[in-house]
């Protein structure tokens, strides 16, 4: 507690200096359903969803966070926050016990009954739409920026992100082809789950100038070795955590019998931290650049920011 008290005091001081937060006129932000959510006080915030947490930190308002869900593991200070459970299994009373004045979440969180209860308890509860595209990231930044009275920071983050994405898009326009990427989840036992349409993996592959090898279904489904072979992926994409758990590329190719695919023969396996790769938060341009550099080595993209 003593650890967190100091930043809180600091944030209040900052709010007073900038004339935002409590002192400002009433703030209202539109949520996913188009309802205006009144935010009288944004001093004690619970973030539910890793992208929300990352955006709050990116806007320099991390010191207002008093709790986050278990998927919020970036940046480092977020790990010190009290955990209110898995984002899809939120307990209303658990969140309320932290005495928040604002709860920010996305449509990916649940259950709906818990959010109804939070609203009933009179706590401002802002649920933002969550889609797997760059626009959704910008909308989240904008909404959270307004809610926290950090419009300027949000605006500059949006401008910078847009610039980064459009420079990437310009480069990708020169690319000769769009490599087929097969994104795999949970490779450890049984057939691996492959990402189809309407997934975070599908979204990031598009942004990075690739095509998803799976177009026939939405969501994640188990895929057989033969099925994977039939899709003829040029690149395999997994999270760094999955690759590490398996113990390397060889084990990945063996475990899922993927050695015969074009990607397996060429040993083209792309691995990146799961939250960075699939988070659809402020680091999405960075993730897209990493993946684009891997997919299009001929373009000479720099991966360092």
């Amino acid at each position: 507690m003593t650890l967190r008290r100091r930043p809180l005091v600091a944030s209040l001081a900052a709010a007073a200096v900038l004339g935002v937060g409590r002192a400002s006129a009433r703030t209202a932000v539109a949520d996913h359903a188009g309802r205006m959510v009144d935010i009288p006080d944004a001093s004690r915030v619970v973030a539910i969803g890793s992208s929300v947490t990352e955006i709050v930190y990116a806007l320099g308002a991390g010191d207002r966070l008093i709790g986050a869900d278990t998927t919020s593991m970036y940046p480092e200070p977020a790990l010190q926050l009290p955990r209110v459970g898995y984002m899809r299994q939120i307990s209303a009373e658990g969140v309320l016990s932290l005495r928040p004045t604002l709860i920010i979440s996305t449509t990916a969180a649940g259950p709906p009954a818990a959010f109804d209860q939070l609203r009933t308890a009179g706590v401002a509860t802002l649920v933002l739409p969550d889609d797997y595209d760059f626009d959704s990231v910008l909308r989240k930044i904008d909404g959270i920026g307004t809610a926290l009275g950090r419009q300027d920071a949000a605006r500059s983050l949006i401008t910078a992100s847009r610039a980064e994405m459009s420079s990437l898009a310009d480069k990708l326009a020169q690319a000769a082809e769009r490599p087929k990427v097969l994104s795999l989840l949970s490779v450890s036992q049984g057939p691996p789950q492959a990402a189809g349409r309407v997934t975070a993996a599908d979204g990031i592959i598009r942004l990075a100038g690739g095509t998803n090898a799976i177009t026939s279904y939405e969501g994640y489904r188990p895929i057989t070795a033969e099925g994977a072979l039939a899709q003829a992926p040029d690149v395999l994409m997994v999270s760094a955590q999955t690759l590490q758990a398996l113990g390397g590329v060889d084990n990945l190719l063996a475990a899922a019998s993927l050695a015969l695919t074009p990607a397996g023969k060429a040993r083209r396996v792309f691995a990146l931290d799961a939250l960075l790769l699939l988070g659809f938060g402020p680091r999405t341009p960075e993730a897209a650049r990493h993946l684009a550099a891997f997919l299009h080595p001929e373009l000479g993209l720099a991966t360092a920011r």
Binding site: Y86, E93, S97, P111, T120, A121, Y220
Partner: protein, 359 residues
């Protein structure tokens, strides 16, 4: 006389029914109050009392608006649901064990839980197209309603298979129940396979069970459907005792056997379907609670049936309190808590039965 004196040492002593039931009622009440008074949000005893006094027009509440919301919007419906569902599952378990003359019987045996879960999962995965046609006000009802009907349907199918010449064969019902449970599990597996990510999230609720869905919108319909059949089960205590002698023997003692079987199956299906439809599948309560009572107080249903009802209410409320507190501010799925208590107990029970069979 010496023989009687010699055997007096062997005599089994049973506790008196009324004091045991009173004690269990007090326990359930204490758990209910604890469920209201305790939770991740700290609310003082005075605030709790004054908030309730205020509600019934007695005093000015000293609780804050948020504390009142926690008490009345979150804890009260949740505690009421926990009490009702715990009571219903335990009573249904006790009645099924009596009806099947088997201490390992469970309401799930006749397919009611898996039928309800299958219907719920089907609604989540396939219902999108249909749900749009309904007014938004009706949508929250669709899932509990289909789950409820699904549970009843599965039981009806199982019973239909068990009927021969107008008589229900308990053994065939058991076997048909196994088959229906397997079919429902296959259906759930298939629907899980074709579900998208959003739908999968909702499915988790049905496999783990949760009392988190307790709101004032769902309770007014669900509570009577859970509580009334449970209370109606209490009428059958004598008949279930007679059933312990065998079906035919119960008939000789004046029990209308076919009527009793139909009645108990319908009441159990009603109470269990209604429970599952609001909180998903919560395992082991129906199995463990009647057992505890039989071991402690003997098998007479005059004590076991109402006793299991009260103890079930107390235990599920306590389990829910534990689920809310141990990982606060997060929440443990209640199915995990009940299975953690029930699993080892079940194994112990099996071991004990095996030991008895050896001697």
């Amino acid at each position: 006389m010496t023989i009687i004196a010699l055997n007096a040492g062997n005599a089994v002593r049973r506790p008196a029914t009324v004091p045991v039931l009173l004690a269990l009622a007090v326990l359930a009440a204490v758990m209910g109050v604890a469920g209201l008074a305790l939770g991740p949000v700290r609310i003082g005893v005075l605030e709790t009392l004054s908030a309730f006094a205020h509600r019934i027009g007695l005093a000015v509440s000293t609780a804050s608006q948020q504390q009142e919301a926690v008490l009345f919007a979150i804890r009260l419906p949740r505690v009421l649901l926990a009490l009702a569902v715990g009571a219903a599952l335990a009573a249904a378990g006790a009645a099924m064990q009596g009806l099947f003359r088997n201490p390992l019987a469970d309401p799930g045996l006749v397919g009611v839980s898996s039928g309800a879960a299958l219907a719920a999962v089907a609604t989540i995965v396939l219902g999108d197209k249909v749900l749009h046609l309904l007014s938004p006000a009706m949508r929250p009802w669709v899932l509990p309603a289909t789950a409820f009907v699904g549970g009843l349907l599965a039981t009806a199918v199982v019973r239909r298979f068990g009927l021969r010449d107008g008589r229900a064969s308990v053994a065939t019902i058991l076997l048909a129940g196994v088959a229906i449970n397997a079919l429902c599990a296959a259906g759930i597996g298939f629907l899980t396979f074709i579900a998208d990510e959003q739908q999968l999230r909702s499915l988790v609720f049905w496999t783990m069970g949760s009392l988190g869905a307790a709101t004032w919108t769902s309770l007014p319909l669900a509570l009577p459907l859970i509580v009334i059949p449970t209370i109606m089960l209490m009428r059958d205590t004598r008949a279930l005792d007679a059933f312990a002698l065998g079906e035919r023997e119960a008939g000789h003692l004046g029990v209308d056997v076919e009527h009793l079987k139909r009645r108990i199956l319908v009441l159990v299906a009603l109470a269990t379907s209604a429970s599952v439809s609001v909180c998903g599948i919560i395992g082991f309560v129906g199995l463990v609670v009647p057992h505890l009572l039989r071991i402690a107080c003997g098998p007479g249903h005059r004590l076991v049936l109402p006793g299991a009802t009260l103890l079930g209410a107390a235990l599920l409320t306590a389990a829910d309190l534990a689920a809310r507190l141990i990982v606060a501010p997060a929440e443990m799925p209640i199915g995990v808590v009940t299975a953690l208590i029930g699993g080892p107990f079940f194994l112990w029970l099996l071991a004990r039965r095996l030991r008895l069979a050896d001697t």
